[in-house]
Amino acid sequence: MINNREILQTIEMIDQQHLDIRTITMGISLLSCSHPEMKECCSRIYDKVTRQAEHLVETGEAIEREFGIPIVNKRIAVTPISLVAESCSASDYVPLAEAMDRAASACGVNFIGGFSALVHKGFTNGDRKLIASIPEALARTERVCSSVNIATTRAGINMDAAALMGEIICRTAELSGGIGCGKLVVFANAVEDNPFMAGAYHGTGEPECVINVGVSGPGVVHHALQSVKGQPFDVVAETIKKTAFRVTRMGQLVAQEASRRLGVPFGVVDLSLAPTPAVGDSVARILEEMGLEACGTHGTTAALALLNDAVKKGGVMASSHVGGLSGAFIPVSEDEGMIAAARLGSLSLDKLEAMTCVCSVGLDMIAVPGDTPPETIAAIIADEAAIGMVNGKTTAVRIIPAPGKTVGDVLEFGGLLGSAPVIAVHPFSSREFIARGGRIPAPLHSLKN
């Protein structure tokens, strides 16, 4: 039998160290919903989502109560809508986002991802229509999340798409007061089975319906490291691995149980450390626990590299299928320690960019001055895409030009999205660089065959 110390340790992790399952995300293929008439396409989308996800929330809640482990979010990811709507004659795709929003609301999920387009090598007509609809779609819906993939290691970077997304992000901020940008991600090397928002979508290589689970647990890792103060990094890495193993085993159990009860195949467990604005649930505080005075100072990138790697090594043995983004997230507004470091001035955009070379994703939930030019945002996207393309990893930009705000102000989102201190961007122009357009070719190491 399990001994008392282990039982109490689990309860303490849940009660005091914010251990939870961050999300159960149901991926649903909408390829069968295509129709030339917009109205029919919308009603097919609504019907299919509400039918497939009818029992998602109640099943998640039942598992939560029986195992005594919080499952914070139940969410839905769908086929990139640009593919579903390609045959629609309409030029405005906002009604599709509204249909997704209504379906999400009817199912009781807080977010639905997949108002997305994959344009890493070029645009189809549907892709252009979808991207043009993003600002209004995000302003007129509450639960819809959008993502656009503009680069891959195999295809290179679509710089026309980077330029366009700079403008779309600025327009989204204008129409929705900034919050819309919290639901919009620009990817390089986007993954098809990511359960985390705002970048979740159901890829074309995925089955009809699937359950993916995202675990979390920065607080548990932080607590574990407090017991090895001053010891060498070998000990730090081992401690993180053991903790990640336990957390992932729990994720695997919940994923299998949800899959069985819903009669939907299990996809992957995403081994991520996903912070929240709550005290004691921060990735930045883990890095500081390793001996840094403030997150963002010299040594932060090395600390994050160790953390990211150890989480994967510990977690991968604990799950039958690992996927998604898997690693440590560094969303500024959603992490209490990152917010503090940004306020303190120790965390700059340049340092965050360096950190994205070794974390699981990219520049995440970063507020910049409201008057930042679209070309500067496009250039930030291009830099981040280059890191992803060359290093064969997923990178992303979720950046918020905070309307009417400047460096030192704070943009409040509330809830899980937190609050973001506005960070400085370089004042020097990237306009002519972005105006070139075209594609940056794929790197030599993309030629693997």
Partner: protein, 89 residues
Amino acid sequence: MHAIVTVIGRDQVGIIADVCTRLSSHNINVLDISQTILQGYFTMIMLVDTAGCDLSFDELSRELHEAGAARQLSIRIQREDIFNSMHRI
């Protein structure tokens, strides 16, 4: 189905009797029990079999939680699987 009942809170007379009476009234068999005072807190851990229970797991969990709240105790019941998955390969 096996489940773990944990009772944590300020020590007071009659906690074990109260919890056990409730469990037996719902036909739940206690398989193992340990109790200690940990850093001033009453801590009891029980392994129980809920196979013959006349309530759903949800109802039972709610009843125990409410009974605990009335005595300023935290009483929870969780399926044993969660502890096994975290601590045993």
